[in-house]
Symmetry: C2
Subunit: 307 residues, 2 copies
């Protein structure tokens, strides 16, 4: 009997990455496409063409998983399930990511890109051994996904934790923040574009003594502490472009520890802040891996991360 | 056949309330006890004696549910499951709330008092019709519980959302806060004792024009917005002594709406802030009701709140 094939879509604001394979560690190299996010017609048309090619591969398609940029309706009881909500991305508001896939006659699952990444890190990455995990990406924006016992947290919408209000650092002066909705919410203070606006250079170029590291690390550390206090996650994983140099993570850990001040049993029950607040292990594969898992693909038992 | 009897314990820092009945709406008046929280030996001894009395009632005891003050170990895989963690309450650290009940040979379930209250409000109170709900109590401290699809959120420990850092209101001057761990975290600024320390009188005595209403409502509104952004709950319910006058709730709603600034679809999907941020419906019965549900007691189908 043929092993079933699973499809995965990482639907981003810049590009859609499509892939297929037998599982998250067994993607088929020839079945992969990167499609620019242009108009819904062009992009989703190319996605459909990709899955026609998968179907021509001659194996049954057992499911398609989508990790999508938001905001997107994730409520399966809603008639807008799988549809983009109001988004600044021109032409994409109210577009269904699911309808163009209906013709493949297989189960389709959708979640946010960060919930998908959280699922992947929880199952195969930095979350091995824990049953609740938050994944935070710091890049063009700041987003977070949460998985508890294999289920992603969602409800009214999905977590939008980049937009929480943080206490300002007096050393940050009167920088007004860059968020069009909230000015100096966390994303307005500590996303990649916010840090460039504030310091005139990207984090990757900062020397180890750059004052922005402690200030931005402090804001992101407040998010980590807030995750611990609000969601009681067993691990918090940071990924995304702004994190890639590895410079910020020690400042995030230090700020979270300082703020919590021994209140939560991080040392006794999570192995200390070094383990509790971890770097993402799957890198740029997290979203696609999460989408494969959403599709229903079996994770390789005890396998190391496919990164 | 006898209908099974369920036991419930609301284990508070001041008193333990014990009850038994056929369901949350069917408590048996004669099977109820209020036991002062003194030493673990005395208090838990009296709890045991209460359940001996329940057993003498002649019906099988099908389960006991406990809603407990924290911090308490809620991880069923832990050897400390059901045991108090380090608590300032003298003599109670590392005390098991479950061991003294083992002799009754029935399933025992434990959760925090606020998770139990969240479960009760979600099932029978202000959360009717939604599948994810946060319950916040504002009293001697500030605590919150969250139930998503009938499951309470817990992990490393349990939510301790009273201790998040909020952005200070400039009008609040240099008030240092009352939290022994974090000084001016939310609980240190907006719990009952904090408001008395700051304003020299309790909220209940404030006139409608008291400046503290907008400031404290602003801090609690920040918590509401943070719940919406972190957990994406479909409803947020406020209860507890500080809320009982009803004065603060409009300020909380206004502050949350101002902060979110249209970012989340509260109007479109939650019926507006008036419905989204609601007063607790079960009042002082929430904890005991939640404990009955934890015990496995069936909720009355479509019944109105038992308050």
């Amino acid at each position: 009997m043929s092993r079933p094939l699973y499809g995965a879509i990482e639907a981003g604001g810049t590009k859609f990455v499509c892939a297929a394979g037998y599982g998250p560690g067994e993607l088929i190299a020839s079945l992969r496409a990167e499609i620019p996010t242009s108009t819904p017609e062009l992009t989703l048309g190319a996605v459909g063409a990709f899955f026609e090619r998968v179907r021509a591969h001659g194996r049954p398609l057992a499911g398609i998983g989508i990790g999508a940029f938001g905001p997107v309706d994730l409520d399966p009881r809603s008639r807008d399930w799988g549809r983009m909500l109001a988004t600044p991305k021109p032409g994409w508001s109210r577009v269904s990511l699911i309808e163009p896939l209906a013709r493949f006659n297989c189960p389709i699952a959708i979640d946010t890109d960060v919930n998908a990444a959280a699922r992947a890190e929880a199952c195969l990455g930095a979350g091995l051994g824990v049953s609740s995990l938050a994944y935070v990406t710091v890049g063009t924006g700041i987003g977070g996904g949460v998985v508890i016992d294999g289920r992603a947290v969602k409800g009214l919408l999905h977590p939008e934790m980049g937009h929480i209000l943080v206490r300002r650092d007096a050393r940050d002066g009167d920088f007004g923040g860059t968020c069009p909705f909230h000015a100096d919410c966390l994303e307005g203070l500590a996303s990649g574009p916010a840090l460039v606006a504030r310091w005139k250079s990207p984090v990757e170029s900062w020397p180890e003594t750059h004052p922005g590291l402690e200030i931005a690390g402090g804001y992101l550390g407040q998010l980590a502490a807030t995750i611990a206090l609000m969601l009681s996650c067993e691990r918090i994983v940071f990924g995304g472009g702004v994190m890639s140099s590895g410079r910020l993570l020690p400042f995030i850990r230090a700020a979270a520890a300082r703020q919590l001040n021994g209140y939560l049993p991080i040392e006794a029950r999570a192995g200390g802040f070094e383990r509790y607040i971890a770097a993402a292990a799957l890198g740029s594969l997290a979203g696609l891996t999460g989408a494969m898992l959403l599709a229903g693909a079996p994770p390789p038992a005890g396998a190391p991360p496919p990164a």
